[in-house]
Structure formats: structure tokens, C-alpha cells
Amino acid sequence: MSDALETQDPVTMLSTPIRLDYDFTAGVAQSRSLRGYAEGRFVGQRCPVCKKVYVPSRGSCPVDAVPTKEEVVLPNTATVTTFCVVNVPFAGQSIEIPYITASILLDGADITFMGLIQGIPADEVRMGLRVEAVWVPKEELGPTLASVKYFQPTGEPDREISTFREHL
């Protein structure tokens, strides 16, 4: 061993970044919602048994285990059921911290999904806040939920928490 190496600390661990590319098949039902994003709209499906509306559509109802075929186009307006202010940095993060992720309940939907909230100071976000989707410019729309840039407040009065308890 050379003198130069002897003065170095021993190597106890090394990071070896790897990558994995894969093909993802969205399936018939999810593809409908994805095509909806490419057109700048939310497309869901209603269960024929419980009548609940799932967005994005998933092709079946997880409660009734029946196929869902009826398509429902949902509006841009929604309610923040609950949220979190993310202030933790991590590898691969693509949004500057702090940022707010919220459970978004689109008007007419029976399930929430995660969305980014902007256009309001972090300490003013609240459960029940009324928001609307802001889409990326038309030429940038694609078959991904990333076509929604963020949700911003509509200025309407908050929705009473008791009216959406079943979605928490």
C-alpha cells in the first residue's frame, strides 16, 4: 500500500446510484382519466351499486367489487379536506420546500387525491378551504396529473368540516 493511501480513512460504505427504466401500462379505466388530464379536465367513474364517484377512475369499486362503467366529468372546484406543510428535504425532491400538500375533494367526487396548494400563505391554509385547479398552458397538457399546476383558493366561504367528515 502506498503512503498516500495509508493516511486516508478506511472506506466503510459507498453509494452506488442505479437506475431502473420500466414500462407502465395504465389500463383501460385509468387511461380515461389520463386522457382527461390531456384535455384539461377531471374524468371519474360512478359505481353502479354504491353510486360513489371515484377520480381518477379505476375500473372497479373497491367496496362493492363490481366494474364501474359510467363516466363522470368533474369540475375544477374542490375542497381541502386536510393538509400538511412539507418542510423536509430529501433526495429526488422536485418542489421547493416548504410546500403544502392537501387532500383534494373535487365537487361531486367521493374520494380525495393529493394536490399542491399555492396562492395562499402556508399559515392561512385550513381544512374546508375552497380551491380550484389551475392547469398548465394548453400546449403543455399531457396524460398526467402533473397537468394540474396546483390548486388555488376560489375566495368562496369555507365548507363546514362536518359536511365532509366521511372523507377524512
Partner: protein, 391 residues
Amino acid sequence: MNQRCAVIGIGQTHHKAKREDVSIAGMVREAARAALDDAGMDYGDIDAVVIGKAPDMFEGIMMPEHYLAGALGAVGKPMLRVHTAGSVGGSTAIVAAHLVATGIHKRVLTVAFEKQSDSDAMWALSVPQPFAAPLLAGAGGYFAPIIRAYINRSGAPNDVGMKVAVKDRLHALKNPYAHLQLPDIDLKMVEESIMLWDPLHYLESCPSSDGAAAMVIAAEDVATAQEKSTGRSAAWIHGMAMRSEPTMFAGRNQINPQAGRDCAKDVFAQAGVTNPRKELDCAEVYVPFSWYEPMWLENLGFCDEGDGWKLTDSGATSLDGGDIPWNCSGGVLSSNPIGASGMLRFLEAALQVRGMAGEHQVADASKALGHAYGGGSQFFAMWVVGSDRPA
């Protein structure tokens, strides 16, 4: 249950941020060796090995059970791998116990581990999903909104979570195996730690740990013989249950999931427990984020819905004078080798009823609950162990 079975051997590593002195194989072997020594056995006495860990993506080793068969003396023996996300340590113990309770095997070694320093769990839990916005931010980012909803629904004062964070770290000071040893912990220290996932402070979250846990589970005749030869008592399994539910369905109660309620009901019915707060001496419950103590107090039926925070707030769950101490070992908030964290809960419950918990022993503990949950609160595993044989 067809046949009585018991935990007769327990082993765990000293949980740490980085175990740079051992490989994963060396680490699991450390826990397994300790469990075998406690049981008065050797690898050759074992009929089968059941192993669990969190998703393979964490360390990036696919199906590590194959690589670990040699280290665990499982070559040529049945070996089973269990997958239930963060609850896996508990589910793994239950699968092992089922192999004994059903009479298939007499002596089963069960092991669970995580080597977080070899991995990046925060990254693994936040990988962008196809066609989705890249908003995932680790387990805390998933659970913090649910915690916010709990605080709103229950009307709990904002400092209850911080009280759990302090209590569990005080407990950890009595457990030499616990990763976090914070002798100066107090409410102020928690409050002044960075707000990672509002409403969760850094010190209200679990650490990243390297560690492994192991148990030897044996049939009644073997357990009785080993109790005589080793002079150490067994922890008898009085009930065990697992439940799951989908992470996403309309009307899902995310704060108080039905699968957890059903699982608790089942395990307590098997164990003949009608009032867990009164009839159990202590509980080891999977609390990776502070507020999950009051939430699971309600989910598991230790109190009525909405009252969990009152138990925590009153000190009822403290080893220092509480009537139903929770997480005397320091819990997941003090040591979190993810795959092993559930098994540590099961194992610590067993240590208590064997009277072998050392400084964090609850005096005369005769019945205890071990609990684990995982994923988006969709997997639950629980067992009740006792110092007496089940009826």
C-alpha cells in the same frame, strides 16, 4: 388455535443509526443467535425460519431471504418471507406462530430487520409515480394530514403529540437496546425541533435505525421442556390476529380504520380480554409519529372514540405511574429499523410477561399486547401474550 405455543427465545440488536461493523447477514445473525441462546437451542434445533422486512426497494436487495438463508441456518429447511410493509415484523411473528399452532412445526425461528443506513427510506417512500404529480414526501407527509384531521375531530390540545414524544424517549432511557438516548428530552426540546411535516415536529417522528429482532416460537411440549432446562419462563400466546383494508375507498375512516378495530376485537376475544385498559398490564403499540398513540388508544378500544388524548394527557400511558403503560421500551419513536419495528413490539410484550424487560419492566406484568400497523394504515397485526398458559 389448535395447539398452545409460546415465545421461548428473544434476541435483538442494539439499534443504531449506522451499524457499519456488520452486513445485513451479520446483523440478523446477531439477533437470531441471541434468541437461540435465550431458548437454550442451536440452529440445528430449528424446524423452519420465517423472515420479514420492509419492501426490498429500501436496501435495493431483491428477495434478501435467499441471501440470508445461510446466515440464519435455514439451508435445506422451509423458509418463508412475509410482506406487509411497516407491520411486517408483527405479521412475520404471527405467521411463525401459526406454523406452530397448527402443528406443522415444533420450533420456528422468526427474524425481522432493516438496515436503514444501507438504504434511503425517505427516497423509497417518495418515488414519483407514473402519471402523477411528484408530491409524495415520505411517511410523515402521508400521515400528517390524517393527524391534523384527528386533532380537529377530537378537539385535543396541540401539545399532546409532544407529550408522547417526551414520554417514549424517557422510556427509552431505561432500554439499553433503544436507538435514541436523549437524557435531556423535554417538551421544550420537542417544540424547538424543526417542524418537518406540520403539525409534526422532527422529535415527534421516528428515527432511521439499523437493527434486527428475532424470536424462537415453540410448541407447548418443547416450551415446557425448555422452561425447565433454561430456567427462563415462556411467553404464552393467548391470541393473534391480522386484518387489512384497501388504502383508498370512498367513506374510509382514515383516522380510525375499521381493519384496526376489527383486528383488536378479534385478538382480545381470543385472549378473553373484555377491557384492555384494565386487563392488560402494558402494551407495545406501533407509534411512529407521536399522535398515533392517542389515535390507536381509540382504535384498539382502550377508551372511547375521541378520548385517546385524555389518557395520554393524564399520564395513563407512562411507565412512571400510569395505569396502562404504552411502549415501555421507548417504542418506534425511539428505535425504527422499519422491518423489525413491528417484531420489536411483539417481542417487548413477550419480554414483559416473562419478567425479563429489565429497567423498563412493568411490575408483575402477566398480560400484554403487541401491535403493528403498516402501509397507509392498511395492514394490522396484533398478539396478546401472557405469563400463564391459555385456557
